[in-house]
């Protein structure tokens, strides 16, 4: 029969300062881990949710991103004539696009960050029906007007409706704010294709062509046809795959964060171990007494492991509370494929919270096991004689 839980709880509250300090150490470790997971989770959500399953993003062969891809305008006509492309109002769903990058000052960073500008025709907007204008109107062809993603509108200077942004050959009026449902498009500025082509002197060279296939089989056929067409030297990549691959930009941050969390966890384990060794030493006679009363070494071991676990659970809770204000916080991270910043919201999921608490429990278990084992194995007589 194990000792009652109240025994463990009361022992923790009796030495509340030590308990709180240890729990805080564990809590900070959990907070670092959860902070990183929330960041990566938010970024993954933004990138993984981007794209349509029937969309094929056509770029120059071996291009890692639209930014470095070059597609000649003549190739667009060839693509339009490929079989298996869905039609919309008698027009093939094909959107030739230009993606370039500019530097804009941020509210909290005057030196600014890189932002993607996407020039696209009206069909490009119609091919992305899940996007909606949350403010203002769409840009008009032939006008120096832009629509900004909501992440840009919130985080960058002069990016609200009615403001003017300066890039390329002059000023551009911000006429609308785009809500792309927390996807990567929220971090872009959209303009008319021809206006951007003129402004950036790229009349003949596009970045990519977005194509909607009629069905999954056609998508595969289109992909094969493009790969086989040696004349075009293009390749089609599923749009969802393209954005999925960009989540790799978070890998270094994820690795560093987990590395720091693991180093901190080792420290927290030792802190828990130190606390529990002190508890065992202070309560040596108590342990001896419990053994005399008939409690087995196993009961004593269990009692101290439970105590350590309770301590770490408190730490886990502190960690979750520390990181909770981050949930929903908007931020951005440099994307090494697009050379621009991708905005995202920190996302703390129930699974992450469970992982954080589990991580804390492992720290408590590892930290408590050795002292508990020592307590259980100490002879009754020597335990009773400790002062």
């Amino acid at each position: 029969m194990p000792l009652p839980l109240s025994y463990n709880l009361k022992n923790l509250t009796v030495r509340k300062t030590t308990s709180l300090m240890t729990a805080l150490g564990i809590g900070l470790t959990v907070a670092v881990l959860l902070g990183i997971l929330a960041l990566v989770g938010g970024l993954e959500k933004a990138l993984q949710a981007t794209g349509h399953p029937l969309h094929l993003l056509v770029m120059r062969k071996n291009s890692l991103s639209e930014l470095v891809s070059q597609v000649n305008r003549e190739a667009v006509s060839s693509i339009r004539n490929k079989p298996g492309i869905r039609q919309l109002d008698g027009e093939p769903m094909v959107s030739p696009e230009i993606v370039t990058v500019i530097n804009l000052p941020r509210h909290n960073s005057p030196e600014g960050a890189n932002v993607n500008i996407r020039g696209l025709p009206p069909m490009g907007i119609r091919m992305r029906p899940n996007l909606k204008l949350m403010e203002g109107r769409w840009f008009r062809p032939g006008q120096r007007e832009v629509v900004v993603g909501k992440s840009i509108a919130r985080r960058y200077v002069n990016a609200a409706v009615g403001d003017r942004l300066r890039f390329g050959r002059g000023d551009w009026s911000v006429v609308g704010v785009l809500d792309a449902g927390n996807t990567a498009f929220d971090s872009e500025i959209w303009v008319g294709l021809n206006q951007l082509a003129t402004d950036s002197n790229r009349m003949e060279v596009l970045s990519s062509v977005l194509v909607r296939a009629a069905d999954p089989v056609s998508l595969q056929a289109l992909q094969n046809a493009l790969a086989d067409d040696q004349r075009l030297y293009l390749e089609g990549k599923r749009e969802v795959d393209y954005y999925q691959e960009q989540t790799a930009s978070a890998e270094p941050v994820k690795f560093l964060g987990i590395f720091v969390a693991v180093i901190m966890a080792v420290g927290s384990c030792f802190a828990a171990m130190n606390t529990m060794y002190a508890a065992v030493a202070r309560r040596s006679r108590e342990i001896g007494t419990l053994r005399v009363l008939g409690f087995s070494g196993g009961s004593i071991l269990l009692a101290f492991v439970i105590e350590s676990l309770l301590l770490s659970l408190l730490g886990g809770l502190i960690g979750v509370l520390l990181v909770l204000p981050l949930h929903g916080l908007e931020s951005g991270i440099g994307n090494n494929l697009t050379f621009s910043e991708t905005g995202f919201d920190f996302r703390l999921s129930p699974a992450m919270v469970a992982l954080g608490v589990g991580f804390a429990s492992i720290m408590g278990l590892l930290g408590g096991l050795l002292p508990a084992r020592g307590a259980a194995r100490e002879s009754i007589l020597s335990a009773l004689r400790e002062l």
Binding site: S6, K10, E286, G288, L290, S296, I380
Partner: protein, 233 residues
């Protein structure tokens, strides 16, 4: 004739190493205790009184010899079985009370009952009865720090008797108490022996305390002196 010995020790010998020296704590002790006896063990410090008590309670193991308690050869039991056996048959009272500081008087007394199959309600009733027997019905929810030394020792006695053991072992139970509290404790022990038939083995330095026992045995340098032998100088 069937004997009614609760303790039978034969050639009980205990040695231990202290630094470079081999110390003989008990030397070939032969001892029998009859059911219902109240025996006081006296002797100078280091004479082996407490060691004898620890061996009887199976808290320590002899270097050689045999000890049967309630007919059970306790040296043959494994650790887990010893713990159960001790819980069932032995009540132990320490000089320094050894109450768990974070538990109330009632919770301290209930501790040995956690190892039984009694329900929570039954445990609470038994603890209340035991605390009533030592006159602490009004202090059940007090923590050890809220009790006087005498009251703490009475809680310890209640804890020792709550599982109704046959034998109570008391190691200097009045050693840390003032005269009045010591007298109260000795009165309770006498009552437990006389009215409840408990066999009590008590280690003490105090001749006044020893006079409450029905028999006094002396130890000197690890040897148990013959019954009726005078107190050594």
């Amino acid at each position: 004739m069937v004997n009614d010995f609760v303790v039978e020790a034969t050639e009980l010998h205990k040695e231990f190493q202290r630094d470079a020296f081999q110390v003989i704590a008990l030397q070939d002790v032969h001892l029998t205790i009859q059911r219902g006896e109240f025996v006081a063990f006296m002797g100078p410090s280091g004479s082996g009184k407490s060691t004898l008590l620890y061996l009887i309670a199976a808290i320590d193991r002899p270097t050689r010899g045999q000890v049967k308690v309630l007919g059970q050869d306790i040296l043959r039991l494994k650790e887990r079985a010893i713990a159960d056996w001790r819980n069932e048959n032995i009540g132990f009272i320490f000089q320094t009370f050894n109450l768990i500081p974070v538990l109330t008087a009632r919770e301290n007394v209930e501790l040995p009952l956690l190892l039984t199959h009694l329900s929570r309600q039954e445990r609470a009733e038994h603890a209340a009865t035991a605390l009533g027997l030592v006159g602490l019905s009004d202090r059940m929810d007090h923590y050890p720090r809220q009790l006087s030394g005498g009251q703490e020792q009475r809680v310890a006695i209640a804890r020792a008797i709550v599982s109704d053991p046959s034998i109570i072992l008391a190691d200097e139970p009045t050693g840390d108490l003032d005269a009045q509290s010591a007298q109260e404790i000795l009165t309770i022990l006498s009552r437990l022996n006389r009215d409840h038939g408990k066999t009590i083995l008590m280690v003490t330095h105090d001749p006044h305390a020893a006079r409450h026992a029905s028999k006094i045995r002396y130890l000197e340098k690890g040897e148990l002196l013959p019954e009726g032998a005078p107190q050594p100088e």
